[in-house]
């Protein structure tokens, strides 16, 4: 399933994103190889989620472009962009499950709205996605009845509903205990290997970044651009940039104003 490993599935070229006059990140470029798990790293407020929004069609970039395969995503018509979106699966930070539906109905809705499949097929496909993420017994529960880890897994099952080519994960393991977070990371790896998907992961959780990511980019909030490229483990071991070094080793920045002077 990963025959094309190494070729770019997604190319981001000189992208600038922001809200109105406010620039959040500028001149960001990177390529995501087919079948890889690509990390968008950075401190809180560095614009990781904003960049992700531009990649999944929720925020038009101020400049630059994004290619999905060979196709210019933001240059395409709205209708074509909608078709491309069907190749995406997105897990939102809060899970974003539709609270008025059961878990299995959450997974079934994309299939119900975007395919001509019969009810039995939709139910089978939805339940197998839930089984894949370990929620086979919780399909009939309401989202409010789920724990934090279960919400993330249910969101992951919903993201898999249309068998996406690219899976976007926004802070998948944030807010979870280390064991649940590790299980979710393992699940992401197994699903990537099984289905051969490309995964773009936004995170600042170091264990997740070091554990499952093949490549990545580090966004800096001060310079508002990417300051390092590479696998998180490689950046941890080899990058000398003070911000990246402090992030990867959970250390305080020497210039941190909240530190007492003698420790600076």
């Amino acid at each position: 399933m990963t025959d094309n490993f190494g070729k770019p599935r997604l190319c981001v070229d000189a992208l600038t994103v922001g809200f109105g006059e406010t620039i959040v990140q500028q001149d960001v470029s990177f390529k995501v190889a087919v079948g890889s798990i690509f990390a968008i790293m950075g401190a809180s407020g560095s614009g990781k989620s904003t960049l992700l929004k531009a990649m999944i069609g929720l925020l038009r970039p101020a400049a630059g472009n994004i290619h999905i395969g060979e196709e210019d995503y933001w240059g395409a018509s709205e209708e074509r962009r909608g078709q491309i979106d069907r190749g995406f699966g997105v897990l939102f930070q809060s899970g974003a499950l539709w609270s008025s539906m059961t878990v299995v109905e959450n997974v079934a809705l994309p299939l119900r709205m975007l395919s001509n499949l019969d009810d039995a097929s939709i139910d089978s496909l939805s339940r197998i996605k839930l089984s894949l993420v370990g929620l086979g017994a919780s399909g009939d529960a309401m989202p409010a009845e789920l724990s934090g880890g279960m919400v993330k897994r249910a969101g992951l099952a919903r993201a898999l509903a249309l068998d996406p080519a690219i899976l976007f994960l926004d802070e998948p393991s944030s807010g979870l205990d280390p064991i649940t977070g590790k299980r979710l990371d393992d699940l992401i790896l197994e699903l990537r290997d099984g289905f051969g998907m490309t995964v773009v992961l936004v995170s600042h959780e170091l264990p997740s970044l070091f554990g499952i990511c093949d490549d990545g980019i580090f966004l800096d909030a001060d310079t508002k651009t990417a300051i390092a490229h590479g696998a998180p483990r490689a950046l941890r071991d080899g990058c000398k940039h003070p911000t990246v070094y402090a992030f990867m080793h959970r250390e305080n920045l020497a210039s941190d104003p909240i530190l007492p002077k003698e420790t600076q």
Binding site: M1, S115, I128, L132, G136, A137, D140, D163
Partner: protein, 377 residues
């Protein structure tokens, strides 16, 4: 998994019998969104009662969860009938996903089917519990209200003014329009009947008494229940969802002081003002209709209105409007506080608050009218 729809041979499977083994040859492209799931496949394979099922996947192309559903169903059916499921011929990735599925066997959650009597009992007990909580809230309002009146409550003046603006000036336009039209409608109804007896002059009495005793207070309350009561319930329910109420509890901030008292004060304070305004605008609506359709003069209409109205009728209307304001505020806050924590619960809370407030207002109005009738007001 391709971004464009694959144009390859569609997914297929064929069974070949080799002794007591069924060999399933998988071929083509298996895309769930396009081909769906063949629910009877497992039965067709196992119908031949093989000892073992094996697979060949040399001609299998691109696949997704369609294949996993097919294999998972087959494996479950084989396990149920004691048939050996040999997955060595499957692609390694598919075997990996099948392992993932097998770790979590799907179990249908048994739905609780309590007997009818038990369900009635549960509903009754929950109704009693709700009544008890509402009574507790009313008790709290009385006790804390006394404290608040002496200025010792932790209520912020800015919250009260904000709620007052929302329940007062911001609602003036819609209250005016509705009462103007109601006044006009009363005049039309009266004109149609009273004209037959040559008693057109009494249109003014009917509009005046109708608006002052009944319609201005009732219509204003219904508008405020829909507009402000629904907003209160939705606002408090959304705060539940965001754990804002829990945060208030954690600091020991009295919910009554911070959330409920400003709303009750605002609605109770603004309702009589809106009522008075509604009366004036309603009588104006009646005046316009009476002058246009019956040819009455403005002076004769106003004099007749003045003669027909008394202080006790205004007092009744004012008391109604104050009571309606308190009722709407209490019901809306209570519904908001008992709401769940999901987005849909916010909508349900708003709807419940509006329905309960309107029903409550009409019931209370009926009680007022009954009392007024007995007291000959």
């Amino acid at each position: 998994m391709a971004l464009r729809e694959p144009k390859l041979e569609p997914g297929n499977w064929k069974v070949a019998e080799r002794g007591d083994t069924s060999v399933i040859a998988l071929s083509g492209t298996w895309v769930a969104r396009l081909m769906g799931v063949d629910g009877g496949a497992a039965q067709r394979v196992l119908g031949k009662k093989p000892h073992t099922i094996t697979f060949e996947s040399q001609t299998l192309g691109h696949w997704d969860s369609a294949l996993i559903v097919f294999l998972s169903d087959l494996r479950d059916a084989a396990a149920a009938t004691g048939v050996t499921f040999d997955q060595t011929g499957l692609p390694p990735d598919a075997r990996r996903l099948l392992t993932l599925v097998s770790r979590t066997p799907a179990k249908a959650r048994p739905k609780p089917t309590a007997p009818f009597v038990e369900r009635v009992g549960i509903r009754t007990l929950s109704g009693c519990a709700e009544l008890s909580k509402t009574n507790a809230l009313i008790g709290q309002i009385v006790l804390r209200g006394g404290v608040a009146v002496t200025g010792q409550a932790a209520t912020r003046a800015s919250d009260v003014f904000c709620c007052m603006y929302d329940a007062g000036p911001a609602a003036l336009a819609i209250v005016s329009v509705v009462n103007l039209l109601v006044g006009g409608i009363l005049a039309f109804i009266a004109a149609t009947e009273l004209r037959k007896f040559g008693a057109e002059l009494y249109v003014a009495s009917l509009v005046g008494i109708g608006m002052v005793r009944e319609m201005a207070a009732l219509m204003t309350a219904i508008i405020m229940a829909g507009r402000t009561g629904g907003a209160y319930a939705a606002n408090i329910a959304a705060m539940q969802g965001n754990e804002e109420i829990d945060a208030l509890h954690s600091f020991g901030i009295p919910l009554f002081d911070y959330l409920i008292f400003p709303r009750i004060l605002a609605l109770t304070g603004m309702m009589p003002v809106l009522y008075a305004f509604g009366c004036a605008v309603g009588i104006l609506g009646g005046l316009v209709v009476a002058t246009v359709t019956l040819g009455m003069t403005t002076t004769s209409f106003l004099i007749e209105t003045q003669h027909s109205l008394s202080g006790s009728q205004f007092t009744l209307g004012f008391m109604k409007s104050i009571s309606f304001g308190i009722l709407i505020a209490i019901v809306s806050c209570r519904v908001g506080l008992r709401a769940g924590r999901s987005a849909s619960d916010v909508g349900k809370a708003a709807t419940s608050a509006v329905v309960a407030s309107i029903v409550g207002v009409i019931a209370l109005d009926a009680i007022f009218d009954l009392c007024a009738n007995v007291l000959d007001i």
